[in-house]
Amino acid sequence: MAGAAALRRSARRISRHLAAASSFSRSALQQPERLLSSQASPEHGVRGAVSGSELALYPPERVRNFSIIAHVDHGKSTLADRLLELTGTIQKGHGQPQYLDKLQVERERGITVKAQTATMFYRHTTASQDSDAPRYLLNLIDTPGHVDFSYEVSRSLAACQGALLVVDAAQGVQAQTIANFYLAFESNLSIIPVINKIDQPTADPDNVKEQLKRLFDIDPSEALLTSAKTGKGLEQVLPAVIDRIPSPPGKCDSPVRMLLLDSYYDEYKGVICHVAVVDGALRKGDKIASAATGRAYEVLDVGIMHPELTPTGVLYTGQVGYVISGMRSTKEARIGDTLHQAKSTVEPLPGFKPAKHMVFSGLYPADGSDFEALSHAIEKLTCNDASVSVTKETSNALGMGFRCGFLGLLHMDVFHQRLEQEYGAQVISTIPTVPYIFEYGDGSKIQVENPAALASNPGKRVAACWEPTVIATIIIPSEYVGPVIMLCSERRGEQLEYTFIDAQRALLKYRLPLKEIIVDFYNELKGITSGYATFDYEDSEYQQSDLVKLDILLNGQPVDAMATIVHNQKAQRVGKELVEKLKKFIERQMFEITIQAAIGSKIIARETLSAMRKNVLAKCYGGDITRKKKLLEKQKEGKKRMKRVGSVDIPQEAFHELLKVSNSK
């Protein structure tokens, strides 16, 4: 098993790394004595009052920057709550659980979608309760667990020297545990394994320790056992952070140089940038410049997230905080950019690779007249979620709209929800697609992010098509291996690896076309494994594939917004399913409607919707026409909400429903 060998190889790399990291951290600490207990000691009881001179008390060796990473739902945000409470940064029992999950979508879905940073102050006491015990400035970043947001994790890790790798004591290592471990590992971070939820009756920390050993070569003695629910074991966490994670490297006496981690737009304050100060110090009134744009700004406000914005007037080497500098739009604040002292040239920091857009979809105003409102909402939201790409497009069915690129389907969903909840925009989105490449006989090549843009009858021969693939990691109890292998081969997958991570659980690796996993793969996977499967993927190269454009026609007129690109062998099935779905959701009209799916000029599926028989209100009693009129006006409004192609009115639900059509069943 070549894959297993690769895993072992990487595990050796890890163990080397872990050893190096821990020895480094101890030497950097200059406090080698063994710390037996620690205690909550809020240094700054009144939040919002941290002075710059206090920050000066935390040179790099008294600073620790770490992320909390884990598989979905293993308890990152809850652990963050406990650490914030333990340090008095938030008060226990005040505020909602998962304090850092601030967005409405996060609260409703119970997931983190955006990494959040918080600064804590912590007195690292010894057994003697020494009041001179050293104090530390700890910067915590809570990250999302879902695969779509691994970009957020990478970004967060760039500001850290270490990570708490949280693993659910009952569920053990899962797909995103592996993915996130490697992200941290490849960034050369010290990793502290935290086996959480040990209060659960099915918790099996020993088994998890074994998995960690086997998969990542992590020494079982390094694992901390905690329950973020009951508080058990939490007292070990921050001492371990201080002991095992190195302090930020960086030159205190160099001109200021910092990494732009995140930016968002605030109605009152303007653009707010989150930064990690790598070298030097940043003070209010300083002139700074962007390495990417060359533009210079004056620092108007600077401070820390404690956990809310807390002005300090200064940030020192190694510290993480925010800067407000009069940038007009978040477009000026490019995430991953290096900000530095103006009028000096600096080596830009490595930054991070740009977000990769896996899924594209058209976004249109649900109410045709609302284009301006949608445009405004998208502009505002992209200020706070820079990982979405946006270009204008038009459709015959939906009018003016936008083609947006997303990190994944959940990201797309979350983006929609935020548009609706935070900006009041109502949107219709088109069937999500992946970026394909088509090559023609004349050697020309196009990348297709919108199937409608691909000519149905191009008049030239298609020489080859390519589609993006992913490497998927699936972890399942071994009794489900059979059905999962079936599913993956139905989805045109190629098996790369099949190993066992412990006595009960198998790890499968597959190369799968991205298109096959974006819509319903995960749901189906969960369905056939009673919810036990976990799944992660990373993007991989393009592969050649037999692709066709599938058009949907209503009364002979193609509906551009419903076009899709599918694998030739699946065209028939998908076409049939789309046509059936549409028949269900298009309402009868005063004439017959034919619904067809076609490849080029060949019709591959067809349904007819017979004409409406009656829609009459006989009663119009006692001259009281107001009620009838209201009804007719409602009907008129209903028509207005529909989208029209030719003479056919298409209800918005039809577009929503098409999104759910599987690609592969």
Partner: protein, 472 residues
Amino acid sequence: MHRLAIPLVSHLPSRKPAPIRRRPQDARRHASSTAATYSSTPPSPSLSPLPPASAYVHLPFCRKRCHYCDFPIVALGSAAPPRGQGADDPRIVDYVRLLLREVAATRPVSDDGVPLETVFFGGGTPSLVPPRLVAAVLDALRGRFGLSACPEVSIEMDPGTFDAARLAELVGVGVNRVSLGVQAFQEDLLRACGRAHGVKEVHEALGILTSCEGLQNWSMDLISSLPNQTQEMWEESLRCTVDARPTHVSVYDLQIEQGTKFGQMYTPGVFPLPSDTESASFYKIASKHLSEAGYNHYEISSYCKPGYECKHNLTYWQNRPFYAFGLGSASYINGVRYSRPKRMKEYAEWVQELEDGRWIHKCRSSDMKDLAMDVVMLSLRTARGLDLQSFSKSFGKSLTLSLCNVFKPFVESGLVIAMDSKRRALPHIDFELDLQNEGDFGSRVAFIRLSDPEGFLLSNELISLAFGIISP
């Protein structure tokens, strides 16, 4: 026992006709107001500042509520003596007293007294109201507004609520048109609807009506698409109807309203209700049978022998003003529609306000768009259809053109019929040609109407399309 403060009885003998003060233009208007006189063009119905010549009076009492009904009614319960000539139900007496107060407190729109041409007693079951109380209301109307020489005075009656004497009494006080609520000729269907009568009462009532000397004009109500109704049953009902030879028939397609018993029990289009296709076929069958029996299908749900259109209802279809009195009733005066409170207590309070002069018509009079929608909605319900020239005069040529344009595909498919000034159907090509030379549009097309039965059946769709043009 309640004593009436107003001496009702004293009104009874006063049946001398009110003075007729008809102006010449009124005469023209009335001549053209029936659908029978199609060729003359009525004045723009929407904008004429004419005073009302019609009055609707709501008499809300029923023995019990039918399962499909969501009107403002007062159920008296089975204890109420159906034909009691003795003690009047105090609830009815109290209500009529309230009605009379409302009539007395309502100022006639014009001072030079345009008399009422039509009065309609609707319900409820107005035939439950003792004739002398009906007479009292009629007298009050006559006293307040005047009645024309031969007004149309209609009353709704239900089988089992009257005998020959009671009918004669009503005719004696001036009622000259009866609308009989039969609904169906099948015992099971009547019972399932919660009707307070059976088939036997229907035949009795028909006997009484047809043998009443003074009554020449009567109508019958039928409901199609009832639960478990079959095509055979429907055809039987239509046969029985034709056999009874009413001058007018109203055919209502059952609507399932929220909050009614049927609303809880049934879903439209789902068994035991007929499917849309079946219920459309019921509609077509009615149109065919009744037309063959010599009835004109002059409005979506109304049929009549030539010359027997319900003049009162034509007031509605032609968007002319009318008074209304009583619980929940809707009036249309000086361009303003007003619906009275649907609860008795609130209605009584409202009458008090009216008397005290405290009630001010919140003058949210309809704007031009509203008016245009009313005209389109009402006229397209009729066989007469929409008079394009008069519509154009009132609302402008460009709106008229847009309206015709949105109907173009349906003129072609036959749901909408374009007609010339002599009301002859035009081929759709002529309609399109006319539309193309915008300059003198109307050289050929003078009316558009919905076809019978297909266009009528889709009237909601077609009218709401027009709404989308008038008020986008």
